[in-house]
């Protein structure tokens, strides 16, 4: 990953973090708000590789834990795991269309919410009733998918491919 790309990812995660807790609470639909940090991390996992996405997810989750005054490390753990698994699932799909990140975001979101609730339950802090939880997972995940349709193209514009990648793309274009 290029230096530019690293800087871009740091700025993106920071920006998504600030948006997440200052603006997104006002964009609630059916009582749910999109999880921008998770979407950004999954998009990174799609564009780069699962482990980079997991690191981004870890950082985003860590920031989220710091600000939300919940047990430090829970969001970091669940986001990192969910993003990593979503990134691994990418290999199963033989498509690179716009719908790939959307599907992965949907799966990743469901996984993340489930991991999160299970972790909190294990820590004795899970308070959401099962029915409420079921009604909460799907809207949140679909909202994240909507967010992915905005975030993925934006992040693609700033992908900053390294020289070798650009050369490969050019050679593929000339031969193909």
């Amino acid at each position: 990953m290029s230096r530019k790309r690293q800087v871009f990812l740091i700025i993106t995660v920071s920006f998504a973090f600030f948006l997440q807790f200052s603006v997104m609470p006002h964009f609630k639909l059916l009582g749910c708000q999109p999880d921008l940090l998770l979407v950004v991390a999954i998009v990174v996992a799609v564009q780069e590789d699962p482990i980079t996405g997991a690191i981004v997810g870890f950082c985003g989750g860590f920031l989220q834990d710091l600000i939300s005054h919940q047990v430090l490390g829970v969001s970091a753990l669940t986001k990192a795991l969910a993003v990593f698994i979503s990134g691994m699932l990418k290999e199963l799909f033989m498509t690179y269309s716009m719908f790939l990140p959307a599907i992965l975001v949907l799966l990743g979101s469901i996984l993340e919410v489930c991991f999160h609730e299970v972790t909190l339950l294990m820590l004795g802090q899970g308070k959401v009733p099962p029915l409420r939880f079921a009604a909460f997972v799907l809207p949140t995940s679909l909202y994240n998918v909507l967010a992915a349709f905005v975030i993925y193209p934006l992040m693609r514009v700033f992908s900053f491919p390294v020289r070798e990648e650009r050369l490969i793309v050019r050679r593929t274009d000339s031969t193909g």
Binding site: F18, S22, L29, I55, L66, L72, G73, A80
Partner: protein
């Protein structure tokens, strides 16, 4: 493209490190007290990022408001109707309250006057006024059932209003002192000269002194003299606003502006004791 084994190993290693770090953080956090270092870091972090979040909140406020409005669009028109109705209700309540306040003030003034005065009175509401320009009358909601009799004086705390000229069981007609047919005995307080107060269907009444040479000046106060036998003596009537000599031996034109603002009256008092004892009444009896 197949992933290199070294890269797979590196990925696994990084993931394990992440998981271990997270579990360590969770353990430390759960085990420490609320005043522990991790909690302190959390507090410090919140303090540090709050200004930036506030700034971002301000920047994105138009978008945020737009979204909120969009989401609430279906309910906005209903809310608008409800609010309009509420505003109308509140406006009506405010008017009613103002009216009640005025009524209370009037009643307090009337009560004070009736307590201070030597006369026995009965309060009445004005329920109607003369419908044409040829007379100055008003209808009150008290009649013979309340002890009201013909020729009784009608007053407010400001002064004389007129006399009762017709009595029903629950309503009466009052002839205002400005009515052209009204004639009440009056006296100038300053010069003690007596005369007759005649209405002329205008805002003022005319004072005709018995003695044409009497000293009457602008600003003098006129009260009832009690000589007519209908109105008790000493009820304030008004102030002299014009004294105009007339040629060829005609009496002076002395205009008196009543203290009572007749157009603004809502409630009055009828003096029921002492009863009127005019010659006309005695003759009638």
């Amino acid at each position: 493209m197949p992933v290199k084994p070294s890269k797979v190993r590196r990925n696994r290693f990084v993931l394990i490190v992440i998981v271990i770090v997270c579990i360590a953080l969770i353990t430390l956090y759960v085990r420490e007290s609320d005043s522990g270092p991790i909690h302190k870091i959390q507090n410090f972090f919140v303090d540090a990022v709050s200004p930036i979040a506030s700034l971002l909140g301000k920047i994105f406020k138009p978008i945020k408001d737009g979204f909120v409005n969009l989401w609430h669009l279906p309910t906005l028109s209903r809310e608008k109707m409800e609010l309009e109705k509420e505003v109308a209700d509140l406006r009506r309540q405010s008017l009613e309250r103002k009216e009640l306040e005025e009524e209370v003030t009037d009643l307090k003034n009337l009560l004070n006057w009736s307590q201070q005065s030597e006369y026995e009175t009965v309060g009445a509401n004005i329920v109607g006024q003369s419908p044409d320009n040829w007379q100055r009358l008003m209808i009150i909601d008290r009649g013979s059932s309340s002890g009201v009799k013909k020729y009784m004086s009608v007053v407010t705390e400001e002064g004389l209003v007129g006399r009762v000229i017709s009595v029903g069981s629950n309503s009466s007609i009052v002839q205002l002192l400005t009515d052209s047919r009204s004639a009440i005995g009056g006296r100038c307080v300053e010069s003690r000269e007596t005369g007759i107060l005649e209405g002329c269907n205008s805002e003022t009444v005319r004072f005709v002194p018995m003695n044409e040479e009497a000293v009457i000046k602008v600003g003098d106060t006129i009260e009832t003299s009690g000589l007519g036998g209908t109105c008790p003596a000493g009820i304030a009537v008004g102030k002299v606003v014009k004294v105009k000599p007339r040629p060829r031996g005609l009496p002076r034109l002395i205009e008196v502006k009543p203290f009572v603002k007749i157009s603004r009256l809502d409630r009055v008092l009828v003096i029921i004791v002492p009863e009127p004892e005019s010659v006309i009444l005695k003759e009638a009896q």
